[in-house]
């Protein structure tokens, strides 16, 4: 997949864990996309896209709107999101970010289940296990 997007855009993942943890987990999952560690960098915190208040308090996520926003402390909790960047003349621009339900059109698993009579299942808050953890 990343190779196809690669003709029109690069695709990669960034996580806060140290690189060796990412590499071990990537091997376990059988993934081949580039994966970088943001350990020791402000990157993850900066690109959580805070409100000004969130930036000061280290809270806030998804533009402060999810139902559990009050419980999130980004200095403690990791969360997911997708950011788009553009490059022009060696200058990097941040063009877009989305979080939470904003990422679900990007998952073909959710999208095809939405085409079935039973849809995603009975537990809308449940997260799927890893692909090697199903019984």
């Amino acid at each position: 997949m990343s190779k196809v997007v690669g003709t029109r855009a690069a695709w990669l993942a960034v996580s806060r864990a140290p690189l060796e943890n990412l590499q071990a987990y990537r091997r376990r999952m059988g993934w081949s996309f580039p994966w970088f560690s943001a350990a020791g960098s402000d990157f993850n915190l900066d690109f959580a896209v805070f409100t000004e208040e969130g930036r000061l308090t280290g809270t806030g996520f998804n533009f402060g709107t999810p139902k559990h926003a009050a419980e999130i402390v980004l200095r403690r909790d990791e969360l997911h999101g997708l950011s788009a960047f553009a490059l022009e003349d060696e200058v990097v621009y941040h063009t877009y970010s989305c979080y939470d339900r904003g990422t679900d059109v990007l998952s073909s698993t959710w999208q095809v289940l939405d085409r079935t009579p039973k849809r995603r299942g009975d537990d809308p808050d449940g997260w799927p296990p890893r692909h090697d953890e199903y019984e």
Partner: protein, 231 residues
Amino acid sequence: MNLPPIVSPTEWQAARDALLAKEKEATRARDALAAERRRLPMVQINKDYAFDGPDGKATLLELFDRRRQLLLYHFMFGPNQDAGCDGCSMFVDQVGHLAHLKARETSFALVSRAPLAKIEAYRKRMGWTIPWFSSFESDFNVDFGVSPETPQPDVYQDGESFGLSVFLLDGEDVFRTYFTTHRGVEALGSVWTFLDLTPLGRQENWEDSPAGYPQTKPYEWWRRHDEYEGT
């Protein structure tokens, strides 16, 4: 090249928040559409179709692999061809790990008109593990409107077309609940949905982008994943 206007983080945040309100409207509208889709009526399939698969003959019921729902992708692969359709190949590259669908009682299978030997060779080339069946000796593809009566060797993939059918099993009875194709299939593919989040978009000439953005014709820029140069 023409670029988006460059603004401060605060100005960007305000513009992004305004778009977010519209995105949330679209998410709710999509949820409502999915709710209507789940209430579509269904059609019972009474004909006994027999497919050729890696483990021999298989019926449509057997394609469910003992699960309640079946997602069946009609993959364009004409019987006179040695390689399947490039667009269908890009779509299959985007199907996620099947463990997650199986956990929701849902199987996923590909069906093509090409004979099984050609399918198996091409599957090996592409490195896919998705179950893939041949309807070469069956009326299935013609009955479901994705193949001409007789293969047309002079047109792309012998005149095959593509789409996604959804089937439901009730006891031993098989029903078709849904079918989609073209833009409906593109909505299921993360290459398209990821590119929709980038400033340049899919870079296809039908898109409403600012003047000067790079654009080429849809259906023509993609290749099989082992045919791209320099990526």
